[in-house]
């Protein structure tokens, strides 16, 4: 509890699936304020009510936005800065869209849809990080980009989504490298297969019960947002693999006092 006290966090794609679960986890961990962004406002309002039951004192701001539009990114940034008093501690670039469903082969992919997927999944994270850097660089901050194994392997039919995640992996590496001399750290997480509406849309013939509940993969997102991970930067994690082992390899020992460290 309270691993995130005094932290202001912005989470995109927060209305459902992993984004919603990260928001609830951050509320449980005592974040000071959350800014939640999604394409539709009603699920965000419901999430805000749910958070109020967990953390009645928490400041929660919800924003309806289409992150495929650069003007909406600027609006999200401005509202975030206003809501958080000009500072931001944690930025979770979680929002992504799948593109056309059923997912066509690249050979058949409509160009407009391709552009739209790249705008939301790749350009928006770039613009959000760029626009909000001034609010993070003085005090330090944690940026977590949500990637996918489709960002490392070119699966047939995963078209623009997979390519956008390839781009996001590169974006994350480059940001991490350029920000190496600052207190702003960038890490990226592949949450693995989850039972979410988007994944069910992507693979309607698969059995979703074999996939993880998104509520069960949030721990790494809490860890990377907390000060306990202050020395972790520029790394890719897989939420459903033994990422604690990866931390151990990165010379993180139980002396950090973090609950996950003691599990190593």
């Amino acid at each position: 509890m309270n691993l995130l006290s005094d932290k202001f966090a912005l989470i995109t794609g927060a209305s459902r699936g992993l984004g919603r679960e990260i928001a609830l986890a951050y509320a449980t961990e005592g974040a000071r304020g959350l800014v939640l962004v999604a394409r539709t406002i009603e699920p965000l309002q419901r999430l805000k009510s749910d958070i109020a039951r967990i953390a009645p004192e928490m400041q929660v701001t919800v924003i309806q936005a289409d992150l495929g539009l650069p003007a909406d990114v600027e609006r999200v940034a401005a509202i975030t800065l206003e809501a958080c008093g000009g500072r931001l501690d944690v930025l979770i670039n979680n929002a992504s869209i799948l593109g056309p469903v059923p997912m066509p082969y690249l050979l058949d992919y409509p160009g407009d849809d391709f552009q739209q997927v790249l705008q939301v999944n790749l350009t928006a994270p770039f613009l959000l990080i760029q626009t909000l850097m001034g609010a993070m660089v003085d005090r330090g901050g944690s940026i977590i980009n949500v990637t996918s194994d489709a960002g490392r392997t070119g699966y047939p039919g995963w078209g623009a989504y997979g390519i956008s995640k390839f781009g996001l992996e590169g974006l994350s590496q480059t940001w991490a490298s350029e920000l190496a001399e600052t207190e702003v750290r960038v890490n990226w997480v592949d949450p693995g297969s989850m039972n979410t509406a988007m994944h069910r849309d992507a693979e309607p013939d698969e059995d979703p019960t074999t996939w993880a509940d998104p509520a069960d993969v949030t721990e790494i997102f809490v860890f990377l947002a907390s000060d306990t991970s202050a020395h972790i930067r520029g790394q890719r994690f897989e939420a459903q693999s033994d990422w604690r082992q990866q931390l151990a390899a990165a010379d993180v020992s139980a002396e950090t006092g973090a609950p996950w460290a003691t599990k190593i």
């Binding site: 701001t61 003007a71 609006r75 206003e82 000009g86 001034g134 003085d138 001399e181």
Partner: protein, 364 residues
């Protein structure tokens, strides 16, 4: 005049102290081709590759350089003080059954109302108290009162506040733009990379040339940075006569304890304080007038002109200001007016570019 806490009953008289016409005027001819009509990035430059005119305060000597070489003129322990203000899309169109009017937001007042310039129509006389302006998306504003000195200046109260107001403003508004621009550049071009406090009607443009690459380079060199916030109002009332009067306004500013601490440290260690923009000079000198370098949130009517003894600002990075601009009065506190005139003549001869997307001038 010193910085002071603002009282609510002063709201109606927020514009005071008109400049005495004819004193210290800064007239010169600026060839139209020297108006920067587009951002450097749209002229084939990186934002930090604009030209840098360095003016030596002691000798009056000039040196011509490029902004990404700023580090050549700075020393370890120098402190650059930025204005963290982020530019709003402060121009809105209100539609009514009778007429449309452009609303240019100028300043948010302590009670949450706004002072705004109402333009774009010959029907100013239709603007009356209690008129409801409709901007769409459920955003309206009620006209409250007219400014005593500037006829097109009105106090408005919007139907939304806080983040709800910002949400509507960003959906509906456009950045304030002037006629010399070649294109309606989007809001992102009107931001400094480090800006993180939304609220400015216009960009504090002296800092526009800074890139993160340059900021990191300066940090490696041992140059420190800090920020204050002072949201710039309108640079023009779209009325040459009024603009020439240099009507002084009261402005709100914030200085954090972290910044105050850095300023104290720089002064103790012999580092120079370089204000990035005239707004920063006003905030710093207003703080100095309080007699103590400490965190503060206050309002200032401080007027800095020739003969003003600067207490904190050792140097100034600023844009190139157009003829008769009030900023030129402030520059005269750093160097004699005749030195500015000579430097500007040189800048014109060497085809420097003016305005928010133009070249910059370091005075130290």
């Amino acid at each position: 005049m010193s910085a002071s806490a603002r009282k609510t009953d002063e709201v109606e008289n927020w514009v005071q102290h008109p400049r005495v016409a004819g004193v210290d005027s800064h007239s010169f001819y600026l060839p139209p081709e020297l108006n920067a009509d587009r951002p450097p990035e749209r002229r084939g430059l990186v934002r930090d590759q604009v030209r840098l005119l360095v003016l030596n305060r002691k000798t009056g000597a000039t040196e011509h350089s490029r902004f990404d070489r700023l580090g050549d003129f700075l020393r370890p322990k120098d402190l650059l003080v930025f204005n963290s203000s982020r530019t709003l899309p402060a121009a809105l169109i209100a539609s009514g059954p009778q007429f449309d009017v452009e609303v240019r937001l100028a300043e948010r007042l302590p009670d949450g109302s706004w002072m705004a310039l109402l333009t774009g129509t010959q029907k100013e006389n239709r603007i009356v108290p209690e008129l409801l302006l409709d901007f769409g998306l459920d955003l309206t504003a009620t006209v409250i009162s007219q400014d005593a000195r500037i006829p097109a200046f009105w106090r408005l109260r919007f139907s939304k506040s806080g983040t709800d107001f910002l949400d509507r403003l960003y959906r509906l508004g456009e950045p304030i733009r002037y006629r010399y621009l070649s294109s309606p550049w989007s809001l992102s071009y009107y931001q400094n990379v480090y800006g993180h406090r939304p609220g400015g009607s216009e960009m504090p443009s002296a800092g526009r040339a800074f890139s993160w690459r340059l900021l990191f380079e300066l940090r490696r060199k041992g140059v420190d940075t800090a920020s204050v916030t002072l949201h710039a109002g309108l640079s023009s009332y779209l009325d040459d006569g009024l603009d020439r009067q240099h009507i002084a306004s009261e402005e709100e500013y914030w200085i954090s304890e972290a910044t105050a601490k850095k300023i104290r440290r720089a002064r103790k260690s012999g580092g120079r304080l370089i204000a990035i923009g005239t707004t920063v000079v006003r905030a710093l000198e207003s703080m100095a007038q309080q007699g103590d370098i400490r965190a503060q949130h206050a309002y200032t009517r401080l007027r800095i002109t020739a003969g003003y003894r600067l207490q904190l600002s050792d140097g100034l990075l600023t844009g190139l200001h157009e003829p008769e601009a009030s900023h030129l009065d402030l520059l005269a506190a750093f160097v004699p007016s005749v030195t500015i005139q000579r430097a500007y003549a040189e800048a014109i001869e060497q085809h420097y570019l003016w305005h928010e997307f133009g070249d910059v001038n370091l005075i130290m």
